[in-house]
Assembly symmetry: C2
Homo-oligomer: 211 residues x 2
């Protein structure tokens, strides 16, 4: 049931110095394994030992690298939020030649699409009992993503859209809309009321009804 017999348990170990840029250190390899594990078994399904097996290291290596299961999942959530930020940045760049309000919709769509493409990681990020939501790196990644949306809102306000409202409040409303849509979809609330609705169309409708 497990692996075939016993063939060289830990085949390769690279120099740990992590100084050169040859390959990512063990932490990155473990996060890669954890991401696959989360994608396959859900947010709570990534066990330290399963990750260790996939990365072909000892069962304690992930716990040593991240101090904790919680630490490992927090690092994974952080990486997800960082990549979310990159995704949003690309969305803004791709729509840079269009009016700011359409850029805003595009950012929102990118947010929802990215969460829909990574349901396990999205749920993990939404599991305060599995990760440390006060982790500094995670908070920094969140702020980076937030600032992207915030800048687009400021740009739209410069064109007169809701210019009389504070940018933080407007950006928060937009953030709430896209995050709420993604969360409701993921959690199954929309299956009954909107059975055949595509997430993309649904969010576009919600966004446009407010904008």
């Amino acid at each position: 049931m497990t692996v075939s017999s016993d063939a060289d348990p830990y085949p390769v170990r690279m120099a740990s110095s992590t100084a050169d840029g040859s390959g990512t250190s063990l932490r990155e390899a473990l996060l890669d394994a954890a991401e696959i594990e989360v994608g396959a078994s859900g947010a709570g399904g990534a066990s330290l030992r399963a990750v260790a097996r996939r990365a072909r290291v000892s069962h304690q290596a992930p716990a040593y690298a991240f101090t904790n299961r919680r630490g490992m999942l927090t690092a994974l959530a952080t990486r997800y939020v960082e990549r979310l930020g990159e995704h949003l940045t690309h969305a803004v760049a791709n729509a840079s030649d269009r009016p700011p309000l359409e850029q805003l919709v595009e950012v929102g769509m990118a947010y929802v699409e990215f969460s829909g493409a990574n349901p396990g990681l999205f749920s993990l990020t939404a599991s305060p009992d599995q990760i440390d939501i006060d982790d500094p790196a995670l908070s920094a990644a969140r702020e980076a993503s937030w600032s992207i949306l915030h800048d687009v809102v400021v740009e739209a306000q410069r064109e007169g859209w809701r210019a009389h409202l504070p940018a933080e409040g407007v950006a928060l409303t937009c953030w709430v809309l896209v995050h709420g849509s993604a969360a409701l979809w993921r959690e199954g609330w929309l299956a009954a009321q909107f059975p055949r609705a595509e997430l993309r169309e649904l969010v576009r409708g919600v966004l446009l009804s407010v904008i």
Copy 2:
């Protein structure tokens, strides 16, 4: 570390017939225990055996009653959503003498307040890998809660508010707003940008900016 020595392991067992209304059957007692457990240890912290110990039954009783850990958590999430519906109903009733738009705000506030008062259960409901989001009872409870909000929206539209838009879409937008606010708050996204903001004021602002 565990319980003190060994004093009569399973003190009381009531007739299982569940026919009369003396006390709730074992299922309800187990759900009570599970709710305490979730409140203390988070959504993922409620183990079958901890629930069994708290309810003073054998370690297998919860699994037998709910077939599964997943089944137990699904039943708990269902009870949360049912109570959420009751809470929303009360909020509507308490604001029945006010204009529909204010009723709408009150329902939204009630939603957020209820989730804030039960953070563990809210997170549980938002954990698709721990519960069965397609469970019929859970879906029914969701639809009941949804219909409350939907009715308030219809009432507001009857007064002319967004009367030209489909009620489902408007209600969805409101739902997304309140759920998104509650989720972002719970998941720690707002701690950095809005450090001293109270959830209640924050949601009121978001709701009013859209309405």
